[in-house]
Symmetry: C2
Subunit: 198 residues, 2 copies
Amino acid sequence: VRSFVIIGRTATASSDFLLDDLAGSSGRLDVLTRCVRAALLTSHGVRKDADVFLVLLGGERAPRTVRIQGETAKFLRPDERSLAVLLQKSLASHADDDATGFVDLRHGVSLSRGGVVELLPMFEGRPLYVLSEGAPDVREATLAKGAVIVLGDHTGFDEDTLAALRARGATSASLGPVSLHSDDAVCVMNNELDRRAL
Amino acid sequence: VRSFVIIGRTATASSDFLLDDLAGSSGRLDVLTRCVRAALLTSHGVRKDADVFLVLLGGERAPRTVRIQGETAKFLRPDERSLAVLLQKSLASHADDDATGFVDLRHGVSLSRGGVVELLPMFEGRPLYVLSEGAPDVREATLAKGAVIVLGDHTGFDEDTLAALRARGATSASLGPVSLHSDDAVCVMNNELDRRAL
């Protein structure tokens, strides 16, 4: 499976945002909804071999992580509002309050307390890539099956996260000369992996 | 300048859609809002050297084309709802009713009656590319400055449009082994052009 981990430093981990003002009321959860689409949806369906982890570091209930798995996801639609509704319903849950690890909520959607540091042990043995500008070009990089791709939102990474990723031996890669939105970064990375059949 | 032409076969050319149900009420104008973001916005601003043409073939007032020019656009936000508001305001206009060619509405946004066939003469002398599956890979293609990239929505092209494009000598190109959403196609194409500094 191919995994995308998107870190939303301000994205709210609680459900108290307005669907009619998603960009303005959710700490930019809109960015993350777009990453879900880019990570999991193709023209004709869902990528069964991909999953996405939204690490939500904003708001009162942070840190929490929403996982959406292509293999089991149902009714995923590409528009921001539908995806925001899915996230809002999921984040309203208290199923993760006293749980350890991910708790299944509905078709392919699960929820966990914790952020990147809690997440990394799940990826033991899989190759980790961090998208960052100025790093070697991904087109020249050695990529392997089971890739875990970690990227920041529009504000990048905090130092603790970067340190944790480096300690795990993450490889840095860049995607070209222009600084891209997170969802475009997911898209370009998916295209590179598709081309290599990884 | 780099131009993207996105053909929405069902996307409404009138303003009578619901912002709260964009995907369900607009003939999939949501697809086109996402293409605007992918075509024009980077992590830190607007692509000054790009513009996007949304060819709207659905609804009562079709065909109409909305042009958004990166060079002069202001207040462009990446989220679907903001872009849908911009399109709704623009499509409510009657400034194009009796006009020939594009009528300026506001910062970088203009509107024209007509579809692809009316549009093509504007691109005289510029290299035309049509994104379509099964065509030669864009990474192997000869690309030139001033590219005009034409792509369909989730339903592809109609025969008349394809014929008009072929008559203009358009080059077909594909983007990899997986069938992508239109906005992802725009993203991958922008990445390829960025890498070649075109």
